[in-house]
């Protein structure tokens, strides 16, 4: 399986975020997306998910444009953005069960509990998520990674709000996914040590291009 990006261009207002961006990602590869604040990292990730329509260029999954495969592509995709995507009024377990079912799996309670146990939310399963701390909420969102069968993970700043133990845990979860032939794209300032597979780097910073055109 491959994800291929060809000549992607994205303009927001009168600002050119990136242009002529091309790369290819294959199984067992992890791509770190770098760039200063406002360089278009999140926009790129959202474009890759199909949430944001690029101005020019193509995004191909297994050689076919993602616009044409829609649901088939989304089945292989897991996106975790800045927002956790969990409901404050639901309990931890209900949130995880809903998210898993939405992704097309109907998981057993045992499996969900096991995932919560691993992610460090043991005994919190019946708490409404509104009572959890910021880091714990992030963990609820991250628990999806443990249940997901998706091949391509797109993670936008996944380490935000996590404590040291959780950062290490998440690093090992990501490394594990890459080990098993998965693909990961993430933006972070944190290194992710891999046991196998390959790390690619993509930098979005090209000083001049990032200024508003009026400033040039």
């Amino acid at each position: 399986m491959t994800l291929e990006v060809k000549n992607l261009q994205c303009i927001r207002g009168d600002r050119e975020l990136f242009t002529d961006l091309s790369f290819q990602l294959e199984e067992s590869q992890l791509m770190m997306l770098e760039g200063q604040n406002g360089s278009g990292k999140t926009t790129l990730l959202r474009s890759l998910c199909g949430l944001y329509l690029q101005d020019q260029g193509e995004i191909l999954w297994n050689g076919i444009s993602i616009k044409k495969q829609d649901e088939d592509y989304r089945r292989e995709l897991l996106y975790l953005g800045h927002l956790n995507g969990i409901k404050a009024d639901l309990t931890v377990l209900e949130n995880l069960r809903f998210n898993a079912t939405l992704a097309g799996k109907i998981p057993s309670t045992d499996k969900l509990m096991q995932a919560l146990d691993t992610i460090g939310l043991y005994a919190f399963e019946d708490f409404p998520t509104s009572q959890l701390s910021q880091g714990q909420k992030r963990r609820v969102a991250l628990a999806r990674l443990l249940i997901s069968k998706a091949k391509l993970w797109i993670l936008d700043e996944p380490f935000v709000a996590l404590d040291i133990a959780a950062v290490e845990l998440l690093q090992s979860i990501i490394a594990n996914h890459v080990d098993n032939g998965g693909m990961v794209i993430l933006t972070t300032h944190q290194e992710v040590p891999l046991t196998s597979g390959k790390i690619k780097r993509l930098s979005l910073s090209e000083e001049q291009d990032n200024l508003p055109s009026s400033a040039k």
Binding site: C49, G50, L51, Y52, L53, E71, D72, R74, R75, L77, Y79, G81, H82, L83, N84, G85, I86, K87, A88, D89, L90, E94, R97, F98, N99, T101, L102, A103, G104, I106
Partner: protein, 223 residues
């Protein structure tokens, strides 16, 4: 695909049960508007019977717009809407589940409270029956049209007011034929069938187009 549909429907109902006040605000708003009219217009039997059909429907329109901005706003703010659009199901199906949940929480209670309104306005029992029937046919249309507007104004400042402005003119056909049916049922010899057929046609039309239009509007709003 159906499992995701049911789980979303169930989730929305569960969330509403945990925040019951939101259901009751709509219902009480409806009741208060309805009970204000006799105080302002006068409580003679003939006047009440004459204004009842219009009042019931206008109150229903206003009450249903009241709940619209919450339809997608919460999901938008906490990121669950984003996840819904990325789920490997058609977004129209997901949106349809949300519409049904919205109707069950805001439309159905109005249908069920209608007999009480009938008593306020001294309506004959067969008219109360007709009123419940047309509300049953018309309120889903309100939820479905409203969902399109709610999706379009998602994330805008002052979106709530904008929704009302967008949506109330679109409610006019439902108002005209819904109120017409209730009036017709109070006149000897008039058939209410044409009204019912037209309202059913509106409902079918909304059923076909609104999930698709709402899904498209949501994708634009999320960009």
């Amino acid at each position: 695909m159906m499992s995701a549909f049911w789980v979303l429907l169930k989730r929305d109902l569960l969330l509403a049960l945990r925040r019951r006040s939101e259901i009751f605000t709509v219902l009480f708003f409806f009741l208060i508007v309805i009970s204000l009219f006799p105080l302002g217009v006068g409580s003679e039997d003939a006047t009440l019977k004459k204004i009842a059909p219009g009042v019931v429907w206008i109150a229903a329109l206003l009450a249903s717009t009241l709940a619209l901005d919450r339809l997608f706003a919460n999901d938008y703010l906490d990121g669950t809407l984003e996840q819904l659009t990325l789920a490997p199901q058609s977004l129209s199906v997901m949106v349809f589940a949300k519409m049904i949940a919205h109707w069950l929480l805001t439309g159905l209670p109005l249908v069920l409270i209608a007999p009480l309104v009938g008593l306020f306005y001294h309506l004959p029992s067969n008219t109360i029956g007709v009123m419940m029937l047309v509300l049953l046919l018309g309120t889903p249309v309100l939820s479905m049209i409203g969902a399109i507007a709610a999706a379009l104004t998602l994330g805008l400042r002052g979106g709530g007011v904008l929704v009302s402005l967008l949506v109330l003119p679109l409610y006019i056909p439902v108002l005209v034929y819904g109120a017409g049916a209730i009036s017709a049922s109070m006149v000897e010899g008039l058939s209410i069938q044409p009204y019912l057929l037209l309202l059913s046609a509106f409902m079918l039309l909304a059923l076909i187009f609104s999930p698709w239009a709402t899904a498209a509007a949501l994708k634009i709003s999320l960009e």
